[in-house]
Structures are given as structure tokens and as C-alpha cells.
Amino acid sequence: MAAPNFQGRHMRQPSKNTLLKVVILGDGGVGKSCLMNRFVSNHFDEHSFHTIGVEFLNKDIEINGEVYTLQIWDTAGQERFKSLRTPFYRGSDICLLTYAVDDRTSFRNLALWRNEFLYYADVKEGMTFPFLVVGNKVDVSSEQREVSCEEARAWCMENGNPPHVETSAKDATNVEQAFSLAVESWAHLEAKLDRPYIGDTVDLRRQQPEQRSSCCLSVGGNTE
């Protein structure tokens, strides 16, 4: 079964869990909090509040036999609160750049979010960072859609080729897959960084380069 196995952390020693700090960024209203809640609680509220300040939730996720604890940080998107948001970028392992497929502006701003993240997370120059580009709200009708999958893919190609996935926090499409994809992406880069010569021995279920260039995961598309 390819779906990631979510479970508690007591099966193995707690210390063996790798704690990964995940930051979700993107314009206000694209569904950052909803993505986090769908992933952590499998719950969606049509009329949730906008986030004030920062919030975070923890969630354990098992990928390829390894248990990770994801500490997911969700922040307020408005420019005004930038100085109180950016400190939380420091020490991140994974960054989700989110937009809503029915909000063109949010897509256009991806580059701004990416740059803001790289600057404040203090990512070393030239270093590849595990970004994941998430187009949320795929549940909207095709008339409401303002950003096509191809466009998003093209943007990714020009911006370090991070994996791209379209999700719906509302109907749970690809949300778990998005987070596990992000972790796999992290694991892949980590393997390359830490152990360049034995990188091949890391058993990733899917071939990462291929995954990264492929565009949208359709519903259930990643069950192999």
C-alpha cells in the first residue's frame, strides 16, 4: 500500500523519530491552515478563521519505514506581520509554497514567498532546499480555475524544479500525499548532502527525479 502510514510515535523509541520543521507559506486565504488541519486532524471547516500570529501542530508520519514527526508552522500571510513571521523560518527543513488555483495573484506571489523564505531561513547560497509547490482548492469548478496545472509546472521548472501537487483541503485530495512527497523530497536531498556516495542505498519508493519533474498528482494518482 503506497499511502503513507500515519501512526503514533511510541512504536519505536521517541528519539529515533526525525523531527522535521515544516513551514507553510502563501498569500492569505489560499488555505494554509486548512491544509494543516486536514493533514493533522483530517478535518475541514468551511468557515475557519484567518490565522493571527503563528500556530503549529505536530503529526507523525511514516514513510518507507521511517517515522518522522512533522512540526508544521502556519503563519498570518499579511505583509504587515512579516517581521513576526519570518523568525519562524529559521531552522526549517521543508517549505510548502502554497497558492489557490482560483486565485491568480496568489500564484504570481509564489516567487515573493520563495525569496522571502530563502532570505530569512538563511539557506546557504546555491543549496537546494526541499520546497513543495502546492496548488490548493482543486475542488473548484473549471470556470473558477485561474491557474492551470501546466503553468504551475512551468513555474516550477524555472524555479529549481521543486515537486508540484494540486490539493483540496476541502475534499482531502492529495493532502497526505503532499506532505509525504515533501518529506521524501527532504530525505532525498538529505541523502545526497550527508552521504553522497551511499545515496543510492536510500530506499525511496518512487524515483525522486522523475517524481519531481512530473506535474500534478491526480486523485489517487500516486498509488502504485
Binding site: N5, Q7, G8, L19, H43, D45, L84, R90
Partner: protein
Amino acid sequence: MDELNDQGVELYSHHGVLVKSQNQIRDDDSHCSGTLSIIEYSGIGKCIEWKPTEVLVDSETNDQEWAMVNAVGRRNRTSSGSNESQSRCRSVRIEVAHLKSFRVTRNRQQVTLMERDGTTHSVFFFQHGNADCFVAALKGNIKTVRSKKDKHLYIVPDEPESQLDRSFAELELFTENTTDVVWKFVRNLHHRPYETTLETFAKLTDIWLFKSSEQRREEEVAELLNRSLTLNETSADAIGEEYAVVDLRNGPLLPPRPPAPRGPPLSIEQWAQFQDEDGHIVEVEILKDIIFRGGVVPNLRYEVWKFLLGYFPWDSTHADRQKLRKQKVEEYFQMKLQWRSITPGQEQRFSDYRERKSLVEKDVNRTDRTLPFFAGENNENLMLLSDILMTYVMYNFDLGYVQGMSDLLSPILCVMTNEVDAFWCFVGFMDKVCSNFELDQAGMKQQLQQLHCLLSVTLPDLSAYLEKHESGNMFFCFRWLLVLFKREFSYQDIMRLWEVLWTDLPCPNFHLLLCVAVLDTQQHILMENNYGFTEILKHINDLSLHIELDSTLSKAEGIYHQLTSAICLPDVARKIIGLDPLGGPDTLEQKEPLQTTDIDNGLKVEEGPESLETLTFSPRTGEVAFERSLNLNYL
């Protein structure tokens, strides 16, 4: 998944356990009944579970294994009936291995469970009998230690045998000098053997569980946050209210906290008595005192709030107010027309306007939608909310729309129901709190620093603890302050709280004392759970809808009386709550002059901590030291 096939073995169960409703809109006494049990699963081990008695099926989420109740989920409410009951009664599962502590209160009928990551779960209320059996069952399955400082609190110490597997050296335990730590341990063990052991063990496991890299990460984040929250030191206004560290643990400064009973709300009959025949409001101070003590009955809010928010002057007559209102209606629609007449083409070329409009649209759809007043699609009140905020953008274009404003307007619109009155009352509210929304966030920074200062004189132990745990910047109170507790209380409570705060009694910045009062209630939980930066943030976020308003207001007023009658309250704290400075060389208690450094005399800000000796108190009353800025504490 494995867990679905794993039925588990029930070790304990108790029926008729209530969980408080998570709905901000409903009255506080609505609850869901269910069964609380301890179940052992072969896969994931022992869990504490609560399931609602009535089984609710929701097509959207029936594939889920478990819905964990959490801070965010709790505040996010749905509007439609069936969804609502579903979200209110979601099952809870807590792995026993994640349990950090629990609190037993209200005649041992209530239990609050807290996890290691700072998550606080809903209160479980045992309507049949009490929680004794549950607590006994828990104790049978895990080791617990009763807190000495908070007799209601039971702490789950971390498993000691796992630590023995590794030597101290391997663990890279201490960021501080190891020798110092060991000596400190030996010294403290002599004086406080129990606490010292617990504290050290907690430290050991915390570092072991959340590796040192995790710790470093938090420290880095906190340090950057401190920089963000530090006021620009060249600002002349700020200098007197700089961040102060007051270490008063050596001597008691504050007298005992006097009781401050709450009163009944202002009634319709009382209100009538405060008006003369022309409509002047008489004896305003007495009136305000009644409102401070008990608020206003809901039916009167429509009238009284207009005065409290400065829309109607207290000394106006009926005729004055009629005239004023006419003007205000005209003025409002004039401003409304300004943005209503912007053509799509103009909008295209007006990005500042477009941005503000887009923000308003997004937030209006996410403001109190579970309230019947704002529920449903194409809700007219939602349109009003949007129109008022857009008109406010024209009223104060420089400030524009900032997230949080829709939260502040919502209850006002709900009370006023009409656009014009709601707008002008909102303007009055914004006049009181607009510094929260400024571009440079100076107002928020200043308040966080003032809060820290008040905390350090009122609860010096907690204040010192927070500093040690990267939380001296008080950032975890950000949401409380930005929208004046809007997200922390039920709708009824927030209306009560705001009308109390709008009286400006008993002192300026009373809302900061309210923060101190909440922290006073949480002090032992935060400290004895040994929470760090992220756990503190989470614990405080999770308090949302779990703060008792009246007792907290009463406590805050008690703290105010403590501070006013304190023998030697530092001037920096006195100024915050509107007391005259004691300063001056003649003052009995201080050798040093107390007035704050005067920047106008060409004093260099960069002089460093030495320049602050004017703020140092005589050691006789306890060591009081002030530091210039937040950063100094973390260097």
C-alpha cells in the same frame, strides 16, 4: 491501516463524561456526553480515548481513523447544524506515552490532559461521581508525581531507565558549562531536593527527546523574534517604557492580593436613572464603575456602547445626538460613495486600493461565520461587514485594512445591526487600539514589553522562567493583544469583556493586567511541565475558549490593587498603569533618582547598560535591575 484492525483491550472506562462544547457562539453550558476509556492497542500502546455517546456519521470524514481535537480545530467552527454537532463531538485520542501532565479540579470532577508538545485537551467533566477512578486507573498505568506548587496538577515524569542507556557526555546535554550545571544541581539539591531533581530530570529528558539541534533551532528563532520585537531605540517616546527585567525574588514587594468581587450588569432601570430629562448622562464616573464591575445587560448595548466608544458624547442631549447622528450618516455615505464609485478600470490602475479590497474580501468570509448573524451564503450582514471595512479604508487610507480589524468590527455590527452606527462605533474602537495595526508594529511591541514589565513585578518567578525559556519577549500573547482577546472568549464573553475595558477603569492598560491574571492561573502549569518556547506558545494558543472571564477580571483587578499599594513599585511599571512616578532624589526608598533617562539631553542611546544605573533600586527592597532591550537577555 493497522489500527483499524486493532480493537485494543479496554483497561478502564467511565460513562457520562462530558466534554465542553467547542462552539464559541453557544452558551458555555452546552456539552457532549461520552465515554472516557483507557485502551491498550498492540500497535500503538496505551491510549486515553473519549467517544461521544451518540454515533455521528459524517460522509466527508468517515474514512478517517481518528480526529484529534486540537487548538486550531477547536476554534474553527462550522455553521450548518449537522456539521456543527459533528465537529463539537469529535472523538479524542491521546497516547499515554505523549501525556505530560494532568490537572484535576472542581471537586475532583474535572480533568484536563496536557501533552508533551504543549497541546492542552478539552476539559473532561465527570457528571457521575468523580474522576478518582480515572485518576487511579491512569496512575496504575503510568508513574505520576503530584506537583507541590499546584496541588491539582499531576506530572508524568519521563522514563528514567531510558536515560541510563547513555552517558552524560554522549548526550551533549548542556548548552551551559557542564561544571556549572552540576554544581548548581548539587547546591539546589540541598535546599530543594524534590524540585531540583524533577527539574534536572525534566531537562535531561527534554534534551534527550528533542535533540539539542532542536533546542538550538528554538533559540535561534527566539533570538530573531526578539530582534523583530525590539522597539526602535532612537524613538524618544519609547525610552521610558523599555523592556525591564525586575528580579524581585529576594524580597516580597507586593502586598497580598485583595479580593475584587464582580457585580451585576447595568440594568435598564439604572441606565434611565443616569439620564436627565434632556438626555445628558449624569454621574458618568459612577455609571462607568457599574459597567466596569458587571458590564451592561445585552439589551442596553445598542445604546451604551455608543457612549463608551465615543460616538456620542456623555454630555450631549437627545437633540444633540439626533443632530450628530444626521451628520454622521451623511459623512458615512459620502465616504462610502468614494470607493463605490471607483470604476473597474480605475481599480486596475490603483493597486493600493485593490490590495486593501482583496484583503477585506478574504477576511470577511472568514469572520465569525458560525454566528447565526453571519451564517450562510449571500448573508446581508456579511455585506455590511465588508462595506464598513471598505469605508474605513477610505476613512483612514494610510492604515488601510489590517488583519484583525474584521474581528473587532464583528461584535459591534452584531449589536448595532445598522451600518452607520456600527461604522462610527468601530471608528471609536479603532481610535483606542489603532496602534496595534501600525505598519511598524510599534504599538504591539510596546505592549508586549509593558506586559513583560508588569509580569516581572507581579509574577517574578514566572517572568524569570519565561526568560530562561526564550519567551521573555511575550510573543505568545500576541493574539491576545492584537484583537483584545477576541479569539480567546465566547461571543457573549467578548462583548462583556470589551465593554468593561472601554470604561478605561481602573487604570490605563488594564488589559495588560488581564494578561497577567491569565498567566497567573497558568503559571504552575507552564513551569512544572517545563514547557519551552514552542510548548508555551502552543499551551497559550490552546487556552482559547477555556478562560473564565469573571474570575480572571476579578484577579486582574486584585493585581491592580496589589500594584497600587506596593511599597516600591518601579516607576516604569507605575507609568504603565497610570500611577505618578515616585521618582526624585528625595524619595525615601530610593537613593537614585527614578525618572527615566531623558533622551533630549543628548544622551547617547548606545551607552550600554551602564547608563541604566538610574533605574537600579536599593537592594534593601530586593534587587531590581533594568535592562535596555530585549536582546540583552539573550546574548
